[in-house]
């Protein structure tokens, strides 16, 4: 089949699956729904593999808006970047589908879960394939919806319902900025929204390039607007607060959405529009700064977390910071490379965490685990491989991608380089802490001592992912992937960067091992990190004052002034006038007589004095 229909299939099959599950859920059982979903994931994966080496092509699937002045299609671009991302999304998606068959086997609402997973696959595919900003925005929001459905899967839990709402709202704030960016570009380029047309409008050689002549502040506004969308979706500071809470969702969801794909969409989008971002020096600096800061900030918070999923969540935040920083430093390809490798080992870590949680009977606190190295060897092995990849041990995939980014930082901005190096040290430290506390030593609770290995359907994806975690950084293995990742230039100082990064890994791991081996409770007690720098409390306060308080104030003012002035004041005046007029109808004869007399005098005066003069 030709590429157009292949792409249409990848995009629409999961939607069809989700819709059929929605409609048929009451009539057929869980088994049929799960099969539909997993089958669609598998078919999409196979198709995306076929499309990996294909020629770049664009096309249109559906005309969405077609009015004089705006013409937006649901189309697609199939190029290096999107084909590679497609592979990642469908591959990890398929693994998570399979894993969930085991992990969610006792859940009551499995059909709803798999339907939401299919919905997510549809939305994410749309972002990857988007050939214009509006289509990307459409699927951006749909991904937000899927995330809402999946985080809030166990909606009877108040904390899950709150987390889903928080995720959607935080993303919405990011979307606000994203839309402003899109509108700015549309206005400045005289009505273009597709990437190709915008590139054309920006290039110096084209005859009519309104974007090329646009003032600097316009490009900065556009760049920052688009970046704000990424800040929301990829959970950068200050919109990072939803990601840790999103761990309320089932672990496969965290693996798929909050590690590998959805949060990576922000980085993917930034790389797609990097030709616009580079036009604004200021925007690039801000992007790099926020990325670097997020990386450091999240790593600090991760040092004191005790929930295994939260540790991984903050680790994701930190790695996303690296990717965003890379884009800001002009090394977008390095960011994408790290995105790919991170997708593999982070998904591995989350699924491994899921296996650990499953093994310990849904216990998530690492201080209630221990000694799992012997109880669950396969999980330990794969988790360790994932950890080493994340830390960036030389030889693992994470090493190559992280080194690229550190190299770019060293090349461009010295203090970001040192901050990233320190972050790498912290990463190494807290991951070692996690592994040592959870897997080494003796079991600390009953559940931990009776832990058993997860079923094969959950372990197989782990094993598969660990192969990728090790090897996806190499040229020969990821011959296909590497074709998507143009290798960034190695400047001089390459050895220095390598040395620093290896040192960071070793020092961090050593510190971690030294501090935590054989301990039963945390020797460090940094409340600031453990309480996430109190940002949630600060935000809650801000919301309470500036939203709820403001709403209360505005309601009161509106009631007094607007409703009062426009509605109640005229009504009161009318009543007062009415009452006064009523007083004249007193019913008393003498009053009427008196008025009669006065009127008579007035009439005589008028007739005799006023009228003759005119």
């Amino acid at each position: 089949m030709n590429q157009q229909s292949a792409v249409t299939l990848i995009l629409l099959l999961p939607l069809f699956a989700a819709f059929s599950i929605l409609v048929l859920k009451r009539f057929v059982g869980d088994f049929v729904c799960k099969t539909i979903s997993v089958a669609s994931a598998f078919i999409c994966f196979v198709t995306s593999c076929i499309l990996l080496g294909a020629e770049p092509v664009t096309g249109t699937i559906l005309t969405f808006i077609d009015v004089p002045g705006l013409s937006a299609d649901i189309g697609f671009i199939l190029d290096q970047q999107s084909a590679g991302m497609m592979f990642i999304v469908t591959f990890i998606g398929l693994l998570v589908h399979v894993y969930s068959l085991g992990y969610m086997s006792e859940d009551e609402s499995q059909s709803r879960f798999f339907g939401s997973l299919s919905m997510f696959m549809f939305s994410m595919t749309g972002i990857v394939l988007a050939d214009n900003l509006l289509m990307m925005f459409v699927f951006w929001e749909l991904v937000g919806l899927s995330s809402y459905l999946l985080i809030g899967h166990w909606f009877e839990k108040p904390s899950a319902a709150e987390a889903a709402k928080k995720a959607f709202l935080t993303n919405r704030i990011g979307d606000f900025g994203f839309m402003i960016g899109i509108l700015t570009l549309f206005a400045a380029s005289n009505g273009e929204i597709s990437f190709a047309a915008l590139k054309e409008s920006l290039s110096a050689g084209s005859t009519s390039g309104p974007l090329h002549d646009a003032p600097a502040w316009v490009m900065t506004l556009a760049a920052l607007g688009l970046f704000m969308g990424a800040v929301g979706k990829s959970a950068q500071v200050p919109l990072h607060v939803w990601l840790p809470d999103a761990m309320e969702g089932p672990t496969p969801v965290s693996a798929l959405i909050h590690a590998a794909t959805m949060v990576a969409a922000g980085v993917y989008m930034l790389v797609r529009v990097s030709f616009i971002l580079v036009e604004s020096e200021l925007a690039m600096q801000i992007i790099a700064g926020i990325g670097g800061f997020t990386a450091l900030f999240a790593a600090l918070m991760a040092v004191q977390q005790n929930d295994i999923k939260r540790i991984l969540a903050y680790s994701t935040l930190s790695q996303l910071g690296y990717m965003v920083m890379a884009v800001g430093l002009g090394a977008g390809e390095a960011g994408m490379f790290h995105l790919y490798t991170h997708a593999f080992f982070k998904a591995l870590l989350f699924l491994g965490a899921g296996a650990v949680i499953y093994a310990c009977h849904h216990e998530q606190d690492i201080w209630k685990m221990g000694g799992l190295r012997k109880q669950t060897p396969a999980t330990f092995l794969t988790f360790a491989i994932g950890t080493l990849a994340l830390m960036g041990l030389p030889g693992m995939s994470g090493f190559f991608s992280k080194e690229e980014i550190l190299g770019a930082a060293h090349h461009e901005c010295s203090w970001l380089f040192w901050s990233s190096a320190f972050t790498a040290l912290l990463t190494s430290f807290y991951m070692t802490r996690c592994v040592v506390v959870a897997f080494f030593g003796k079991a600390r609770t009953e559940h931990a001592s009776h832990a058993h290995e997860a079923p094969m359907i959950m372990v197989a994806p782990l094993l598969l992912l660990s192969i990728f975690a090790i090897f996806s950084g190499y040229g020969f293995f990821s011959g296909r992937l590497q074709a998507m990742v143009p290798h960034a230039d190695h400047g001089e100082g390459h050895t220095f960067v390598m040395a620093v990064s290896i040192a960071a890994v070793v020092i961090g791991a050593g510190l971690g091992f030294f501090l935590y081996n054989g301990k039963d409770k945390d020797p460090l007690n940094i409340k600031l990190f453990a309480n996430k720098f109190y940002i949630d409390e600060i935000y809650a306060f801000i919301v309470k004052v500036f939203q709820d308080g403001l709403a209360w104030l505005v309601t009161g003012l509106e009631s007094i002034f607007v409703d009062g002035l426009v509605a109640r004041l005229p009504a009161a005046i009318a009543c007062r006038v009415g009452k006064t007029a009523r007083a004249m109808q007193s019913g008393q004869l003498q009053g009427y007589t008196f008025a009669l007399g006065l009127g008579l005098l007035l009439a005589i005066y008028l007739v005799s004095q006023v009228l003759p003069r005119h």
């Binding site: 559906l62 705006l70 509006l134 839309m179 509108l183 509106e558 409703d563």
Partner: protein, 485 residues
Amino acid sequence: MSLLEIIILIPLLAAALIGAGLPAKLISRGAALLNLVVLLVVLSQHAAGVNLAHSVRILDNPSISFAVGADGLSLTLALLTCLVLLAAVWQIIDKPAIYHVASLLIAGGALGAFLSTDLFFIYGFHELALIPTLLMIAVHGHGDATNRRAIAWKITVYLGAGSLVLLAGLAALVLNFSGSNGLTFDLNALMETAKTAPLAADTQAWLFFVLLVGFGTLVSLFPFHSWAAPAYAAAPTPVAMLHSGVLKKFGLYGLIKIALPLLPLGAKAEWVQQALLIMLVGNIIVIGLVTIHQNRLDTMLGNSSVMHMGYIFLGIAAGSPVALNGAVLLMFAHGISIALAFALCGKMRNQLGTLEFSKLGGLAANAPFLTVMFAFATFSSIGLPGLANFAGEVMVFVGAFNLNLNAGLKPIHWATILALWGVVISAVYMLRAYRSLFFGKAAEGHFISDPVGSQRLPLLLLTAVLLVVGCRPTLITDLLTFAAK
């Protein structure tokens, strides 16, 4: 006898039949279905290019005729009316026949207003549709008797005052644009004269402002909005669905169909634009904040309905073809989604007795169908792509922002940015409502069960329309013919 006249007369005739004593449920559902079918026939004829205009002369001097004519805008809103009417009458169960009569009269009046091309009848039909609304709120509204009488009085006087201002504006239009053959109320004739002999820009600006205030009061434009929220909270469900979904759009329809073509310079005048921008930002931000403060579902939905009008006014303020297309699409989409929301609200009120967020919770456990339906209403209202409101909102924003940026950000740009923040505000209150009502732990003693059998149909109908138009907005925008100037 044109098909359009038949569409207007079917609901009125059905109301009369029910009044005469025939079975209410059967007649009203049959009439609504028949109306929808005839309208679909009209749509296909319109697409094929058949001219459906027809007029019957009533008076010679001034020239008033019962004239009907269809263009894309009228047909879009007529389609909205038929769909909402069908859903509204279908979901009436165990209520006196007057509910059916009132719904049919409101819909008949609305259809008359949308399909007429004579100013006299446009105005007259709208007033006809308002009367049952006011009476139903007074007699059959929710809440205790003194409260609902007070609310009914407020809305009557308020909308009466607005209609009066509107009448003054329309009279001025008739006087100025009647041409040389004596006074005429025919809209097409007025437009001809306006093209050949337009008024001075200043006069146009004033006249447009008067019409804006008149039509705007009918649409709850800030600051003339305070009748809306209490009225919708107190109104019986089919009346709320029809008024907020359909009748409210009359003012916007009038602005786009009557005011903008006859007074093109008026809308563009500097001070009119600024006033309009301030008012619509007031709708979105001020009323948005008021909506956040509400703690009951019915008042929240009423205020949110007021808030969403701000986006449509932004489209009108922008005036470009993209923006107007978006405004009309948003009118249609908002009508359907708010009707769905009020239908669900009515079902919940019937079963629960209270709609306060603090008293309810965890309703999803026993009512999966209603949960899904409410999700559709919620996400449509906050502008999720795939549901109808999104395309309209995007077109409005794009049309409004699309002004040369080289000179810096103009007021309309700032207004668009503030209006964009409205999508965050609407997400805040709708999601908070959804979470408070349906998620979390079940509240003591309050639970609902799903509607059964044919009662699911009106909700499914509205949801299906939202999905279809959401995925394919061209279905509606292809009807409209706003050309670039």
